[in-house]
């Protein structure tokens, strides 16, 4: 589905992404993990073509991403950038309508098909009630669902999410994660996301990829990746790993280095 070949991106002397070779299979939910500055978001931005790699290739269905037309990319690949906080005065319905942009060439009205897909996207994200509400009048969780609705109105085969749950309270976080699962199971969307919450990533993903200092360190199913060694070498902490109902999760025990201060 999506292959990166020796993908390299150099931002400054202190940060570069080196030679990333990954093969993301169709229908996978992949979470990217890693400490701040490890290159997770940069990797998403590279495969969404927001930035251009220094060298290497991204192949989407065997086609070179940098040879594809922008509209063609947007028809196959949608991305939700990190939480948009600017005050955009559009209604939810209007926002979702923009998701059809890559499928329309002219200046005319929406086609019947466009309209149906917009209604579908609003339905899946359970925003029917809010269709004519202004975006800025919604809560953070609803707003995030509206942006996701716009992304899926593109009818992408691959959905990229950059920290979709950050700044949301726990119930809205789970709502977003359930929505992602539903999109994956019901509509077969391949999902690649950056998450901060490792437990959430482990319970909702088929595969975890851990980055540090711009390269891939661990890559596999949650059961394999969630191990003491990973926490030790990547996050420099000690962790206990537990299993419950077939899901793996961890709790940190002590900071590996340095002292702990109280207060």
């Amino acid at each position: 589905m999506l292959i990166t070949e020796e993908l390299t991106y150099r931002h400054s002397d202190s940060f570069e992404l080196t030679s990333i070779d990954l093969h993301i299979k169709q229908g996978e939910i992949v979470s990217l993990l890693g400490p701040n500055g490890s290159g997770k978001s940069t990797f998403l931005r590279l495969i969404s073509r927001l930035i251009t790699p220094g060298s290497g290739e991204v192949l989407l269905n065997g086609e070179r991403l940098n040879r594809m037309k922008s509209q063609e990319v947007a028809r196959n690949l949608a991305m939700l950038p990190q939480m948009q906080d600017h005050q955009l005065d559009v209604t939810v319905g209007e926002l979702v309508e923009f998701g059809r942009h890559p499928h329309r060439s002219g200046y005319g009205k929406l086609s019947r098909e466009d309209q149906e897909i917009i209604d579908w996207a609003i339905g899946v994200t359970k925003l029917e009630k809010y269709k004519n509400r202004m975006l800025q009048s919604l809560s953070g969780g609803e707003r995030q669902r509206a942006w996701i609705a716009m992304a899926i109105a593109q009818r992408p085969k691959v959905l990229l999410l950059d920290e979709p749950t950050t700044y949301l309270d726990i119930s809205h976080q789970l709502e977003v994660m359930e929505l992602v699962t539903q999109l994956n199971e019901t509509y077969g969307m391949t999902v690649i996301m950056v998450l901060h919450d490792i437990n959430q990533a482990a319970s909702y993903s088929d595969r975890l990829i851990v980055l540090k200092d711009g390269s891939v360190r661990f890559d596999g199913i949650p059961q394999c990746v969630l191990c003491k060694e990973m926490f030790h070498s990547i996050f420099e902490i000690d962790a206990e790993i537990f299993m419950n109902n077939g899901k793996y999760f961890f709790t940190p025990s002590t900071l590996e280095k340095g002292e702990c201060y109280e207060g």
Partner: protein, 344 residues
């Protein structure tokens, strides 16, 4: 800020009513203002006399005053007002900044400088004035764009570079006026901004530009709406952000240059009108752009009528009147809606 309430069954946009009211009202007011402007003056006419003056080609006084003097002036005033307001609205949309305006980022002064050069140094080529103004505006826009470019031109950088360029052009203008101080008299009224004495010649000079620019403005709506989502989101939707932005900047340059070429430096229309309209109809350019166009036309026609009648027998350049009223009004808006600036 927006009254949405719980009545979500209504399949209507929360601003739908306001939008219709604003468009209908400003359209009607524009027509009324135009008619009044034909009637009022040192010599006043009735509706009947205006009708005759426009449609019956004879040698009466109403024909000469209404058809030869006031009618083209009203039309040019409308075109200038529409152009300035639309240029301002487009720039504000592209830059996602309510302070963007052809006058502020230096595009208007670029046009002004080119026009001044023609008037002072090469008065023999006066017929090329509109072309020079447009080229001056375009050259300024290109310079601003090029200097702001770092693998993409960010709106903020464009505005900052624009302000700097504006200062440089202002200095050139002052230097020019000092060097040719004997000829400055001819330029002064134009610099103050006004449409006194414009006639069919000026109308014909700009009408084709105007039609082309207004048609392009209709197509620009789709581009501005996408750009307003933010550069990243627009790119992710497969939109060519830089291409659109360049097209929109050239379009507003064309509009501003056209206005400057007939009316000189009229400020604040491009800043104040879209700003007021945005606070009523919202930021959706499908409504904001036509509302700004009507409002801009209305403002210039009304202001010009006041400027030429209230201070009779002196004609005040409309640009002075607009700056005089527009400056304080804009300060008032900033005070009142401080939060709306913080958002951007």
């Amino acid at each position: 800020m927006i009254a949405t309430g719980e009545q979500t069954q209504k399949e209507r946009h929360p601003l739908a009513r306001k939008r219709i009211i604003v468009l209908v009202t400003s359209g009607s007011l524009l027509i009324i203002a135009a008619v009044l402007s034909l009637m009022i003056g040192p010599v006043s006419f009735s509706m009947q006399e205006i009708w005759n003056g426009i449609f019956i080609a004879n040698d009466t006084m109403e024909r000469r005053i209404v058809w030869e003097l006031r009618f083209p002036r009203v039309l040019v005033g409308m075109i200038v007002g529409i152009s300035l307001a639309v240029a301002g609205a487009i720039l504000q949309g592209v830059m996602r900044n309510p302070l963007a305006d052809p006058g502020i980022i230096g595009v208007s002064s670029g046009a002004g400088l080119a026009a001044t050069v023609i008037m002072i140094i090469y008065p023999a080529y006066i017929m090329f004035l509109p072309l020079a103004a447009f080229l001056g505006a375009l050259a300024t826009a290109v310079v601003i764009y090029a200097l702001s470019w770092r693998g993409g031109a960010s709106p903020l950088r464009i505005i900052l570079v624009g302000v700097a360029i504006n200062a440089v052009i202002g200095a050139c203008m002052s230097a020019l006026m000092l060097l040719y101080s004997d000829r400055v008299q001819a330029v002064l009224p134009w610099l103050a901004g006004g449409i006194a004495g414009v006639g069919w010649v000026q109308f014909e000079m700009i009408i084709y530009y105007a039609i082309a620019a207004f048609v392009l403005a209709i197509f620009s709506v789709k581009h501005i709406r996408i750009l307003r989502l933010g550069d990243e989101v627009a790119k992710l939707l497969g939109h060519h952000v830089e291409r659109s932005r360049f097209f929109l900047i050239v379009l507003s340059t064309l509009l501003a240059g056209m206005a400057v070429s007939v009316s000189g430096l009229i400020g604040f229309v491009g800043l104040v009108v879209p700003h007021i309209m945005r606070s009523i109809v919202g930021g959706d350019y499908r409504f904001l752009l036509p509302a700004s166009a009507l409002g801009g036309g209305l403002l210039v026609v009304v202001a010009d009528t006041i400027a030429r009648t209230v201070f009779n027998p002196i004609e005040l350049p409309v640009g002075i009147l607009l700056s005089f009223l527009g400056g304080p009004f804009f300060l008032y808006l900033i005070q009142k809606r401080r939060d709306s600036f913080a958002d951007n």
